[in-house]
Structures are given as C-alpha cells and as structure tokens.
Amino acid sequence: MDFGGVNPVLLLASLMVAATPIMLAAIGELVVERAGVLNLGVEGMMIVGSVLGFVAATGTDSAWVGFVVAALGGAGMAVLFGVLTQFFLSNQVATGLALTLFGLGLASLMGQGYLGIKAPSFPDWHIPVLGDIPVIGPIVFQHDPMVYVGLGIVAGVWWFLNRTRGGLILRAVGENHEAAHGLGYSVRRVRMLAIMFGGACAGLGGAYLSIVRVPTYAEGLTAGAGWIALAIVVFASWRPGRLLLGAYLFGGVTVLQLNLQAAGVAIPVEYLSMSPYIATILVLVIMSAGGAPGSLGKTFHASR
C-alpha cells in the first residue's frame, strides 16, 4: 500500500503525533479568545511548559508528572498575563508579546542544565482489539496516551462551549462583556479562568514536544509552534471541530512534505509549506464579516 514510496498508514499515524502539540495549544487559545481575550503569549507559555515538563519528567523519571507540572507552569505564566490585562488593564497585544519574549528567556535560563538529555520513555499505547484493526488500528489506536488526552480536551471544550451553562456564560462574556456584566456575571473571573485554562493547554503542548515528539530539550524548541496555534484558531473560526481539522492540516503538511522528500518525490516543498497559511488567509477573507467574538481583545472595566 505505497503511493510513490509513501506509506499512507505511517503518514497518517505520524500526522496525528505532529498535530498534537499545536492542537493542544490552539484549543486552549480558542477558549481564551471565546472569552474575549487575545493572548499572544502562547509561544512563551508553550516553551515554559516544555522546559518545566522536561525538568520534572527527567527529575522524577515519569512523563506524567512532567505533563502535570507543565500544565501548572503554563497556567502560572497565564496568571501573570491575566493579572496584567484584567486587573491592571494593560494592552493585551503588547502584554501577550511581552509574555512570549519573557517565556523564551525564562525557558532558556531554566533549561541550562538540561541540554542534551533524553526524556524518560513514554511508550505508545497499543489499545487492545481496536489497535488490531487493520489500517485504522495503526493510524488511530496505537499512539501515546497524550494524543488521546488532546483529542479528549478538544471534545470536552466543544461540549462545554455548546452544551453547558458555563460555556454559554463564557461565550456571553466574549461576545459582549458589558452585557454579561449587566446580567451580573463576573467578567474578570470568567476571563481569568479561561486564561489559566489556555495557559495549561499551551504548557501541555510544549511538554508534548520536549517529552514525546522530539524528545529532548533544546533552546528555542517550540520554534514558532505557538504562532501556528494562533493561526489555527483563526483558521477554525473559533470552533473546536474546525480546530481539529486545522491542526491536522497544519501538522499533516509538515509530515507530508518530509515523507515526499524522503521518498524522492520531486515536489517544490515551499508551496506545500505555505499552503496552510494561504488557507488561513482565504478563510479570513471569506468570513471577514463575523466569526470573531465581539469583545475580542477589548479591555473591560466595570465602570465604563
């Protein structure tokens, strides 16, 4: 079952792995943006998560401890952003960019003693029965547990936003914070919780890179993955289902071009590499009216 030397089963399987870190970071940012906050610090929170997770994982020899610590670290970074933007009313764009720069510096400082070490092993799950199904088994059911955790979070977010009262409140806060405030909801509290959730997800995404996908820590490990996550949120027009598609598209193009090259297919990789971004721009143009949460990026203060 080879197409031009590329095995589609292996390709799709590695696509799921390649998409997981950006999917985790993007789903967190999606919740943040649906609450009306634009946090451009995803890259910074990711890299802090990747180094903290790696340090904890190698220290305790347990990848799971690493993921928990990474989520806490990412959330901690996000609290910093939340306090600055929600309580001191600083500009969200500038604060987010600052958070990215701060995160990159902090991570390279913390990672000093951890370069060139391999992460503890995090074996794939070979899910019984399901994993033995031909073709589909190796593609979907033979990955490491974090792939499924990521999918679970996406499904959970979809359910929360569309099927729960809490999700309705969060969306209300994001669409029109003054109205939500008038109804008696605490805009700050909802947003702080969303921001922390976003940070935790970004931290998990970063740790997935350093513990599973690479699996070692190097400075600048995320290399722009946080920015891709931000692009995916826009591509998905702030909907969890489309976000899944976006993450697989962005992740898929990466592994596809590597596979095609290794198979010796002469294809200009530049076009392939830019295709998801072109898709994002097209989506933005097509849905230029509507889509984005109404209060996205606006500062809220109860007195106004």
Binding site: G5, N7, L10, S14, A18, P21, S108, G111, Q112, L115, G116, I117, K118, A119, S121, P123, D124, L209, R213, V214, P215, T216, A218, E219, G220, L221, T222, A223, A225, T254, V255, L258, N259, Q261, A262, A263, G264, A266, P268, V269, S273
Partner: protein, 366 residues
C-alpha cells in the same frame, strides 16, 4: 522626536567608540554572532566553546560579547552594526547566510575586522574561514555504509548550498565504496535549527527504512528521535554533528564530527592584539585539528573502526583526498579522472560544488 533622539544616541555612541579606539583602548573587544542558541548542543554550542576558550586564553585583555539566535537576513546586519557601534574590534559571524550582511556592514566600518564562517567572500577587513567538514563526512560514510543493515541511509540536510551538497557527496561516495547496494534518502528541512522539524525528519526517515541517520542541522533532536525509536525496538545509528553529542553514545550516536574553532579564534584574536591581523581565507581540516572525529563506540565492529582510523590518519597526513577520481557527476559526465583529486576553487572546485555525484538518485532542490 523619538527618532531624532535615537539617531543622536547612535551618533554619540559612534563617536565614543571612535574616541576610545583612538587612544588604543584596552581591552580588545571580540564579538560573536550566532545563528542558533548557545545551548543547541551542536553548531552554535561549539562556536561558543571557542568564545569561552578565547576568554580563558586572554582573561582581562579581551572582552567578549555574543548575540545568539540571530536570523540570517536583515536582522543580522542590524546586530553586526550594533556590535560595531559598541566598539567591537573583531567580529566573528558564524553562519553561511551572514555572508552578504557581513560584507555590507564591514564596508561601513573599515576599522573593525570581520571574520565570516563558511562563506566565500572577503574584503580588506573581512576574512573568511571554514573547516573541511567533508573530510569528516567521508569517514562517516565509510562507517555508515558498513553498519547499515537496511542499506538505506537517511540524511537530514539543511539548505541546498555547496557546503551541504559537498557533505552529502563525500558521505555517499565512501558509503558506496564499501557497500555498493547503499541508498541515500535525503530530506531538506530548510532550517539550521528547528528541533521539532529535525526530529520529525529523523522519524520519517526511520519509518521509511533508514537505519543510519546523518544530519546537517544543529540540534540534538535527531539523536533523541533515534534513541526513542531504538527504545521502541528499532536499531538506528546516528553521528554527532558539529559537536560530539556524546550524551547519546554508545547508541544511537556511534561517532561524530567535531568542529574545533577554539585555536582559530585564539589565533585571530592574538593577531588583532598584536596588530598583525590581515584578511585571509582559511579552510582547515583534520590536519590542523579544526575537524575532529569523535570517539567511535563499541557499537561499530572492530574492523570497521580500524579501517576508519586508517582513513582518518591518511587524511590527516595529507595522503588521501576524499574526492579522488574517478568520480562522475550525477548525469554521467566525468568530473574527476582516475587518480585526480578535486581542486578547492575554480569551475570544477569543491568550494562551489552544486551537483550530486553519480549514483545519488534524488535531485537537488533549486
């Protein structure tokens, strides 16, 4: 208003720098521009070891500064200009893509000396220096061709420039020599440093049957990816690139090519202190120790280690040139006749090598 202030500050800084230079200021200031972070574990790490060696050698007589993770392009020019304005006397720019920025900035600062790594342009105040990495690649190919069981060797290439193409050719020729069935799968990642992409490339190559991974990128990610594959039951070998990467020995890392810049950096700094600095082109290999082969681990069979050592000794002594004819180009035309060795420069020189040798099936991306 703000811009005027900035310009005034820049002018004042320039004047201060000029004045300080005029009264023969001490210490000599040496700047380094790095393409990746100093913690990459490979290329930039090894250049930074050179900086540390300069500090060690000269102590208070020299002040060193460095800027890491500088993108190749306009940003590089800005960083170099800033360094020159801040009074650097000697600036090492350590990536191929810094070549034109270095030449441009050097033209504006005739009193500052520049050294550009791995390029080919020089000026009155610009030297270039590089190492004959292809000598190491030859040894790597010699070992790789014999330890591979799948006869498939994966190669993670960065940019299609002569430096990288030369490495692929040298490794391929020497793998082919010991194993006629060997096949190279080459992935261009178009980056010097992106751990996630490098790891993905390594994983892809392993999935497509490669059991030896050679890399021409700067991070240790391919090593870690191979180690993870080995934990999952594969048997993949790698070689450290630019630095020893000994943390991944004895498997997957079975040997390495080490770039030892320290002696060169010390020598050139000394020349600035003595006032004897001149623009030169340096291209050193195993003979001066600029290229070293890291310890070969027990994972390599003993006879292979022995023959690899013979090759190292022959190259070091100058008895063997890794590009010795007969060698044909990929299209079948003759490049080197029987017994001829490659020239460094000129139309057929290896400095500008832009073709694959016969036997490689892939195409160089244009």
């Amino acid at each position: 208003m703000l811009r005027r202030t900035l310009m005034a500050t820049a002018a004042a800084t320039a004047m201060l720098g000029g004045m300080a230079m005029a009264d023969g200021h001490e210490p000599v200031k040496v700047g380094f521009v790095y393409v990746g972070p100093i913690g990459d574990g490979g290329w930039t790490y090894e250049h930074h070891q050179g900086l540390l060696a300069v500090q060690e050698e000269f102590g208070d007589a020299v002040e060193t500064v460095f800027v890491e993770s500088v993108p190749e392009g306009p940003d590089a020019e800005r960083v170099m200009t800033q360094m020159a304005l801040e009074g650097a006397d000697l600036i090492f720019t350590t990536s191929f893509g810094y070549m034109d920025p270095t030449i441009n900035v050097a033209a504006q600062f005739p009193d500052v000396r520049f050294e550009h790594a791995t390029g080919y342009k020089t000026a009155d105040n610009v030297s270039n220096y590089s190492a004959r990495f292809y000598e190491g690649r030859a040894v790597q190919g010699h070992i790789a061709g014999q330890i591979t069981e799948s006869n498939t060797i994966g190669y993670i290439a960065s940019f299609p420039i002569p430096e990288v193409i030369r490495g692929i050719n040298a490794a391929y020729l020497h793998a082919k020599e010991v194993n006629p069935d060997v096949d190279f799968k080459i992935i261009w990642v178009y980056t010097w440093f992106d751990p996630a992409k490098e790891a993905d490339a390594a994983t892809t190559l392993i999935e497509q049957g490669a059991d030896v991974i050679l890399q021409h990128t700067d991070s240790t990610a391919p090593q870690a990816a191979a180690a993870a594959a080995n934990e999952a039951g594969a048997k993949v070998y790698t070689f450290g690139q630019a630095s020893d990467m000994i943390e991944f020995a004895p498997l997957p890392r079975v040997s390495s090519i080490i770039d030892n810049w320290a002696p060169y950096y010390i020598e050139r700094t000394q020349a600035v202190i003595d006032g004897t600095w001149e623009s030169v082109s340096t291209w050193d290999g195993m003979d001066t120790g600029m290229v070293e082969i890291g310890e070969m681990t027990d994972a390599i069979p003993e006879d292979v280690r022995a023959s690899a050592q013979e090759m190292i000794d022959a190259i070091t002594a100058g008895d063997y040139h890794p590009f010795t004819g007969p060698i044909n180009r990929q299209d079948g035309t003759v490049w080197l006749a029987e017994g001829a060795t490659a020239e460094d420069f000129g139309d057929d020189g290896i400095a500008g090598m832009n073709f694959y040798v016969e036997g490689l099936t892939a195409e160089i991306p244009q």
